[in-house]
């Protein structure tokens, strides 16, 4: 099992310390939540682990491979996918295409694959079937051919999360997956995360909604000022007075 970990990671933006000598080791599978006040450095940690921000010092490792200064697309190819705090989908393409984009190692995405088309049609129809299955698992199949820019906010969010299923990655990072969504969509997201866990994947999410964290997380990391201030099971941490008073209120 490849374990994701980082050691003594520091990152500053100007005089602002976003990550302060942070070390963490994630379990091989399960659901991990990261909480903490605004500006605690949660998103920055995720960005460092996925190659979108280069740390000033420290190391990140995925199994035996050092991913510290690896370009983001190479990290993604190792099977580490993510969503963004600011919602990102390809709005001018259909809902279905947004899922289709995610299947890894497509022949038709190579230059000569696109030109010569060997096996591309078969690959496309296989992926399309799989994409429709993913869409129906989150009840978006009736919108498959709509431009994804016409979805509601909750549906867009659901689409961005569900598209990670197509990537079939070992590691899935979600930055504030349920911020701003309705209870119905929230239920879908709970189902989606549990499904990923049952397939033996690791889900790591950042969230401010403590009820959601309680409901679904198996492990909890509390961050503040670029450091990890607590790491344990949610029941243990969310009953600690000092944590409750300082970070949750």
């Amino acid at each position: 099992m490849q374990i994701l970990r980082c050691e003594n990671v520091c990152k500053r933006f100007g005089g602002n310390i976003a990550l302060d000598d942070l070390s963490v080791r994630f379990p091989p599978s399960g659901i991990v939540a990261i909480i903490g006040p605004n500006g605690a450095g949660k998103t920055t940690l995720l960005n460092v682990l996925t190659g979108f921000v280069e740390p000033d010092s420290g190391d990140c490792l995925f199994g035996e491979s050092a991913i510290t200064r690896m370009p983001a697309h190479k990290i993604a190819r190792l099977g580490i996918v993510r969503t963004f705090q600011e919602l990102r989908i390809v709005r001018q393409e259909s809902v279905l295409e947004n899922i289709m984009l995610r299947f890894p190692r497509q022949r038709g995405e190579k230059f000569f694959g696109a030109l010569l088309r060997f096996g591309v049609a078969a690959e496309e129809s296989r992926n399309k079937g799989e994409a429709m299955r993913i869409l129906s698992s989150v009840e978006l199949e009736h919108k498959a051919n709509d431009p994804s820019g016409e979805l509601s906010y909750g549906e867009e969010k659901l689409l961005s999360l569900a598209s990670c299923l197509a990537a079939d990655a070992r590691l899935n990072f979600f930055d504030e997956p349920i911020a701003g969504v309705h209870v119905a969509v929230r239920k879908q997201i709970v189902k989606l995360f549990k499904g990923m866990k049952n397939e033996g994947k690791l889900v790591i999410f950042i969230e401010h909604d403590i009820a959601f964290v309680r409901e679904i997380a198996e492990s909890l990391i509390v961050m503040d000022n670029g450091r990890i201030v607590a790491h344990g099971t949610p029941s243990e941490i969310l009953n600690r007075r000092d944590i409750l008073e300082a970070y949750i209120g």
Partner: protein, 289 residues
């Protein structure tokens, strides 16, 4: 008849050029202002090779297309790191540099005197001399280019290009090497543009720096935007309209010295109106707004 064939040849050449630009503008969202300059490299290389070496067409064209796309890779490595408006400005700079090379490197390009006496192409035993023969040649090359662009853009690769156009960060998070894909498409685009330039040089038998100026780059960009970016029909319709338009102006009796200005005014207005009311062009799918 001869006249109509001549216009059709020009339309075919500009179709190839605007299709090549649409790969960047429509499919990758890169507003390049250097396409005429790149076609110019193709034209000058063709002229020089054809005059001095007398190579046959089937050898010249791949040679020129290959050389131009290699050169464009060198140029695109710095410019492709720029985004949006900065990319437009960066390529504008390249266009200005290319133009001054054409105009001032007299030993190679003959400067403002232009490069005369470029021979008509010879394909195996076929001497392509008459305009209608040339029309057969250019339209078949155009058909090949359309097929090529169609295969690339209506494929999973095309989907990736559109994802990059809309959100590079997202495309990276999907595992796509955005820089190398852009460089690859820029190289293909340059090869097609060079082919258009090559056909132009052989057809007109004379190349001059003013054929590859900033205005010309803007004309090609207008063809793409007017017709509709990110489609095959779009650039073809745009190129046809903007080539035929000045001919119509001339035929209604406006002298060509004025027609040139009227033409620019007309397509300036057309562009502004497109941007305001039909940002996806006449038949295109991709909206610039």
């Amino acid at each position: 008849m001869e006249y109509i064939a001549l216009i059709l040849v020009l339309i075919c050449i500009y179709c190839i050029l605007s299709l090549s630009l649409d790969l960047l503008v429509g499919h990758l969202g890169l507003l390049s202002m250097a396409q005429a300059g790149i076609a110019g490299i193709g034209s000058y290389c063709t002229g020089i090779i054809a005059i001095e070496q007398g190579f046959p067409f089937l050898l010249t064209v791949p040679l020129v297309a290959g050389a131009t796309s290699a050169l464009s890779v060198l140029v695109s490595i710095p410019t492709l790191r720029l985004h949006d408006d900065y990319y437009a400005i960066g390529t504008f700079g390249c266009q200005v540099i290319l133009f001054s090379i054409f105009n001032n490197w007299i030993a190679i390009t003959n400067g403002p005197l232009g490069l005369p006496n470029i021979p008509h192409p010879r394909i195996l035993a076929w001497m392509v001399d008459t305009t209608s023969e040339y029309l057969i040649l250019t339209s078949s090359i155009l058909a090949i280019c359309c097929l090529l662009v169609h295969l690339i853009t209506n494929s999973p690769l095309g989907r990736v290009l559109h994802a990059i156009r809309e959100d590079e960060v997202l495309a990276k998070s999907m595992g796509h090497n955005v820089v190398s894909i852009k460089v690859g498409i820029a190289a293909l685009s340059a090869a097609l543009a060079a082919m258009a330039g090559s056909l132009y040089a052989h057809f007109v038998t004379f190349v001059h720096p003013s054929n590859f100026s900033v205005t010309e780059s803007i004309l090609v960009l207008s063809m793409v935007i007017l017709g509709g970016a990110a489609s095959i029909r779009g650039p073809i319709i745009g190129a046809s309209v903007l080539i035929v338009l000045p001919e119509i102006l001339r035929s209604v009796g406006i002298p060509s010295s004025i027609a040139a200005n009227v033409r620019e005014i007309v397509y300036g207005i057309a562009l502004v109106m497109m941007m305001a009311w039909r940002p996806h062009g006449l038949v295109g799918r991709y909206s610039f707004r």
